[in-house]
Symmetry: C2
Subunit: 245 residues, 2 copies
Amino acid sequence: MQKQLHPNISVDCVIFGFDFEKLNVLLVERTYLHPETKEVIFSDYTLAGNHVYVDENLVDAAKRVLNNLTGLDNIYLEQFYAPEDPGRLLKKNDQLWLKKEGKNPEERVVSVCYFSLLNCKEVSIQKKDRNVDWHPISEIRNLGFDHDIILAQALKSLQVKLQNEPIGYEMLPLKFTLSQLQKLYEVVFDMEFDKRNFRKKVSKMKYLIQLDEKQKGVSHKPARYYIFSRDVYEKTKSDILNFSV
Amino acid sequence: MQKQLHPNISVDCVIFGFDFEKLNVLLVERTYLHPETKEVIFSDYTLAGNHVYVDENLVDAAKRVLNNLTGLDNIYLEQFYAPEDPGRLLKKNDQLWLKKEGKNPEERVVSVCYFSLLNCKEVSIQKKDRNVDWHPISEIRNLGFDHDIILAQALKSLQVKLQNEPIGYEMLPLKFTLSQLQKLYEVVFDMEFDKRNFRKKVSKMKYLIQLDEKQKGVSHKPARYYIFSRDVYEKTKSDILNFSV
């Protein structure tokens, strides 16, 4: 008779942010000092996360993490993954860190992961006493715990979702140019798109509404603004069904 | 200071099966008899699931459930969801059932859910002492626990996945006809497709290989067989990137 699992439960949040140039992820610094000499033993980054309370809905725990970091409610949130490996917290540095935090490093923690989407320019991160900041996704490696795996899975889920639903608008201001929209797709898929093909695709999307308004105070030729209409999207989305056979 | 959650962890499996006519789900009957009079108090169905053991990888727990029901390993499995509501097991019948099973009905159970895909005709279900069988998805309602929610989420995930990856072949025999393939898509998306449009789409899929072999012993005009080539798919899939803007 094998023993049933009663782990600690946490949520981990992959918070993506677009700054018109790069795709970024919000990371929390984790610096471990030698308990006596105070020399830095290691310093790295993790995703934002927290434990789930006894009567708490899992998504409410994720909302609490996000609110704590941004002061905002109603941020786009999507559950995408629960890491499966029982040994996900057993790396040496992770064990040191858990002990320092007063946790039992041998206790298994099952995590349910969420990704969320933000416009970096419109959010101010509440640092409090933590060193938490945006990092370009292309430069992120060797995160603490199994967070490299979680981040890779989050990016894959974001790409799939973006192929099926126009969620990219969550990372753009209300009014945006087509170049900004194209850049967003390029950084998420990590590839360049041909401008003409991209605009052809855009022209078919009834929920992308052209405004009678252009950029002001830019050094290049001012571009026209667009907005995303959720109403039009909801009304037309059943036409969009597309599948590979 | 709020108390941290240490729930029981389970896996729930939505096992989809195609029988060339309908999309089916494997369900387990749950009949509760009055402890003294043995009169049936309620009888309904649930998805297949089980608890996770202390050192067990979550996906291995799901494989164990599937192996137990089918005798098979290497069945297609996809993690898709963890129900979020702390009150997911609090319905009256569920509480009666948990007590009868010797469980603490007040304990929270966090479940990680998987869907899997089978060809009903090629699998024999190992019933042992349980009443477990395929049920047409169109006739399933009022499942035990929160399994209606899990099933709805699984169907949505299957649809999204099928729009992005040709996983439908997991539910077909090695050799199949285009009518069988079309039927599969129709039952998953619950809509009819125009035969000509469907075949036009199919003709673009390089990984769908026409065989020099036709059906035998059928009363209608024998149709040609096709196979799915995973090799060709893996080599050509980067061409397929398609997204809505």
